[in-house]
């Protein structure tokens, strides 16, 4: 793990990069990294995030600044700007059931080619996908999902980069921290090694590439 400023971290991300962002309706989202993506005008992003949040909050800021070219998400209904950009064909949107979304990312982080899920069988979601029978039950083959960068937000990080998350701000963060080439983390509090007990570490330090310094 290397400690860097938010400016240095975002300078590493090229325009057009694929970026996973943790958070659920902006809760547990690395706001400082998103603000800096907007400030450095990193356009053409391929964004992987549960939802489009709301304008002015979380990944909603990326839609405000029209920086997203492609979106993979489960729900965008609460962000009218993202809806407009989708209906106006400014962004390509792939809508994925939420359980499938998280399992595809988990597979990407765990060395699996994909997962078999009953979710979506017999619906529009099944179009173009392989259907596989196991013991008489039908499943869809859903392929693994990875990104060049994962932008993660945690509650605690120690000096080594061990992470712990708070309440419902955990959501997709620990899963995404496994599924990208480069993992960049913002935290509420940086604490000495040992403050997070081994049993309470949710993302082990070796998974974290860059920790954004506070202040």
């Amino acid at each position: 793990m290397k400690a860097v400023s938010v400016e240095e971290a975002v300078a590493m991300i090229p325009a057009g990069a694929s970026v996973m962002v943790g958070g659920f309706m902006g809760v547990g989202t690395p706001e400082r990294l998103l603000d800096e993506l907007v400030r450095q005008n990193k356009s053409g992003l391929s964004l992987i995030c549960n939802d489009a949040a709301i304008p002015g909050r979380g990944v909603g800021k990326l839609f405000d600044a029209a920086l997203v070219a492609k979106l993979t998400a489960t729900h965008i209904g609460l962000n009218p700007k993202a809806q407009q950009q989708m209906l106006g064909n400014q962004i390509a949107v792939d809508l994925v059931p939420q359980g499938t979304f998280v399992e595809r990312i988990r597979a990407g982080g765990c060395g699996l080619g994909g997962v078999l899920t009953p979710t979506g069988v017999g619906t529009l979601v099944a179009e173009g996908k392989r259907q596989i029978e196991v013991d008489g039950q039908s499943f869809l083959l859903e392929t693994a999902l990875r990104a060049q960068y994962a932008l993660v937000h945690a509650f605690l990080a120690d000096y080594l980069g061990n992470l712990a998350y708070a309440l419902t701000a955990r959501n997709f963060n620990p899963i995404m921290a496994m599924a990208a080439d480069t993992v960049i983390v913002t935290v509420e509090n940086i604490v000495p090694v040992g403050v997070i007990a081994p049993d309470h570490v949710m993302t082990p330090a070796p998974l974290v590439d860059y920790l954004i310094t506070n202040g």
Binding site: F24, M25, G26, V27, G28, N50, D51, A53, I54, A73, T74, H75, I76, G77, L78, Q83, M86, L87, L95, P97, Q98, G99, T100, V102, E103, R106, T117, P118, T119, G120, V121, G122, T123, L124, V125, F155, Y165, A166, L167, T168, A169, R170, N171, F172, N173, P174, I175, M202
Partner: protein, 216 residues
């Protein structure tokens, strides 16, 4: 009584002590208000919590304790938090006893459409498809008709949420089940006759010899 409250009160009677229950947004959310205090039901919020409590008092909200719509909630003693893979493992893995969801259409065989209106409203399915595919029991809580048009249809014209039929539909006029795969009128709402239900139901309904009135 307000139609939404009739629905919420009737659905609440389906919950049993010890059940793990997931409530969707809209009318389903209201169900929690009508669960008797002595019934120990675990409510899941799919953004990572079992043991959701009421909206916190003014000034007590915390930005990391929210429901799936991002609104502040509280957590009851004994609550548990987890990541999204665990949350949907609970849902898809059959650990959720009951899910209550809103609906746009339910057809004569119990198939549900509730996630998009092509060309008009494409919000995304969120967790709905996993909930219908994986929960032990699926209950749809919705108004019987919208703008005079039946939401209990012969065949869904909107895209389906799942190939799996739902177990029960509770509306402001009736309770409908699907024994043997056929829509069947199980109860009528207070003051509503069987004839009135049939008049605003597009799907063919089987009517048993006795159809009791909803107890709410």
């Amino acid at each position: 009584m307000d139609p939404q409250i009739i629905i919420a009160r009737r659905v609440a009677k389906e919950l049993k002590s010890g059940n793990l229950v997931n409530l969707g947004i809209g009318i389903p959310t209201l169900v929690a208000n009508y669960v008797p205090a002595d019934l120990k039901v675990f409510f899941q919020s799919e953004n990572g919590l079992i043991g959701t409590g009421p909206i916190p008092e003014q000034g007590m909200a915390h930005p990391t304790l929210t429901d799936a719509g991002g609104r502040p909630i509280s957590a009851l003693p004994g609550a548990a938090t987890f990541d999204s893979a665990m949350s949907f493992g609970l849902i898809r893995g059959g650990h959720v006893d009951i899910t209550v969801l809103g609906g746009l259409q339910v057809d004569a065989h119990g198939l549900l459409a509730n996630w998009m209106i092509p060309g008009k409203m494409v919000p995304g399915m969120g967790g709905a498809m996993d909930l219908v595919s994986g929960a032990k029991r699926v209950i749809v809580a919705m108004q019987h008709a919208a703008k005079g048009k039946s939401k209990i249809v012969a065949k869904c014209s909107l895209p389906l949420t799942s190939a799996r039929p739902v177990n029960l539909v509770v509306t402001d006029m009736a309770v409908i089940g699907f024994p043997g795969g056929k829509a069947t009128l199980l109860e009528t709402a207070p003051g509503i006759s069987i004839g009135e239900v049939l008049a605003v139901t597009e799907a063919e309904l089987t009517v048993p010899d006795t159809v009791p009135e909803m107890q709410i």
